[in-house]
Symmetry: C2
Subunit: 237 residues, 2 copies
């Protein structure tokens, strides 16, 4: 029987034999939501990089690159944009390659590099992703990007939503998967309301991005599944 | 305002400035339950050590030491006992010093050494501990020993029970504390039943220690609060 495990923070990735899993990277506010939206909207590729400097280096490679850099929830000075999903509309990204560095999401992605396959999850592509995962016959590890290497509620709740769709397929769940699914049960009727009590929700509100938050909680508005091919996230076909 | 934070696994302890907190170490199945029971029952002290060898070294120091060593849920060959609470009765431990090494609990304790104070929590002393914590006017960090550095449900649920008693006192909760408290709401009416679905519950059942598990879930049968003084856990007076 296959296992469905949830890694609650990037700091815990070393506890898993990542090479035995398909990994789903989750950073709901806002990196993986924006990646799903950008790939859906025709971005040719999104290149996740760890450091702001690596991102800036693409400036010299030509006009086809859009440079996106976010630190602590804000766009870094001198970059085209950060990780607000509203920067990933068809008008802005179709046919372009976006080079993206964010606080938590790219970190989780890089630590998962030895996985059988790495795909990107968000509420936007929830059901499309789950339907694909069901066909794979592999162990699945849901990696929550969290906040500064620690647990956060929004990524865990999303992991619980994935568990909810996959558990009828008979996976063995680890304790974090059980907990994530139980938290999803508590929050599912109004995820925005549930998350509004968290520290991160408070912090993001202060940054004036309530509109982004509401958008990142929209379920099933996209069907593209971003997958890592080499160094690039592209649309799974 | 003071903070009440939950560290879900020992691997995440480095994310906290431990020196700013009173730390409560939690290893429900079974180390901290047995420590609470042993101190309640008149053990003079319990010395937590990391390695089996360190524990064995006390053999030469005299007859007043009882040596307890557990690895992967079982008593290590050649030791007096492991961490079953039924080994910590008055007849066995009164007036004695127990030297204890366990898989997860002593690990969490050692990583928390720089805390303002380290106390030991279990369902056995839940309310006594919470009543004392309420009088302290300090930030509180609940450290779950977990299972092999990862999250487990039983320690998290207990952390949620502590949050339940302390939150009316107006602490700021971090995301893990909110999640732990929500999980406690789900499980509180029958904690044993709730935990029976977990991987750890299954594993412990295979070891034939259902009786221990049931005992470790008894609430408020003791009032002693074990506190670390130097290298020894003693009764807080």
């Amino acid at each position: 029987m296959k296992t469905l495990d949830v890694c609650l923070t990037p700091a815990l990735i070393p506890l898993y034999d990542v090479e035995n899993y398909i990994v789903v990277v989750i950073d709901i506010f806002r990196a993986t939501s924006s990646i799903c939206y950008g790939i859906e909207n025709g971005a040719e590729a999104i290149i996740p990089v760890s450091e702001v400097d690596e991102c800036a280096a693409y400036r010299e490679k030509g006009l086809n690159y859009l440079l996106a850099a976010e630190r602590n929830g804000e766009v870094v000075d001198g970059f085209d944009f950060g990780n607000s999903p509203f920067s990933y509309t068809p008008e802005k990204v179709a046919g372009k390659t976006v080079v993206l560095t964010t606080t938590n999401g790219t970190h989780a992605l890089h630590l998962s590099r030895s996985a059988k396959r790495i795909v990107i999850g968000s509420f936007l592509n929830l059901t499309a992703l789950c339907n694909w995962l069901k066909t794979q016959n592999e162990n699945i590890l849901l990696v929550c990007a969290g906040w500064k290497n620690n647990f956060n509620l929004e990524d865990t709740l999303y992991a619980g939503a994935v568990v909810e769709q996959l558990k009828p397929s008979g996976f063995i769940l680890d304790d974090p998967a059980i907990a994530a699914n139980d938290l999803f049960q508590l929050g599912k009727n109004d995820i925005g309301q549930y998350l509004s009590k968290t520290s991160h929700g408070e912090r993001l509100k202060k940054l004036g991005i309530e509109r982004d938050i509401a958008f990142c909680l929209k379920i099933d508005i996209t069907t593209a599944i971003p997958v890592l091919e080499g160094e690039k996230l592209v649309r799974l076909v």
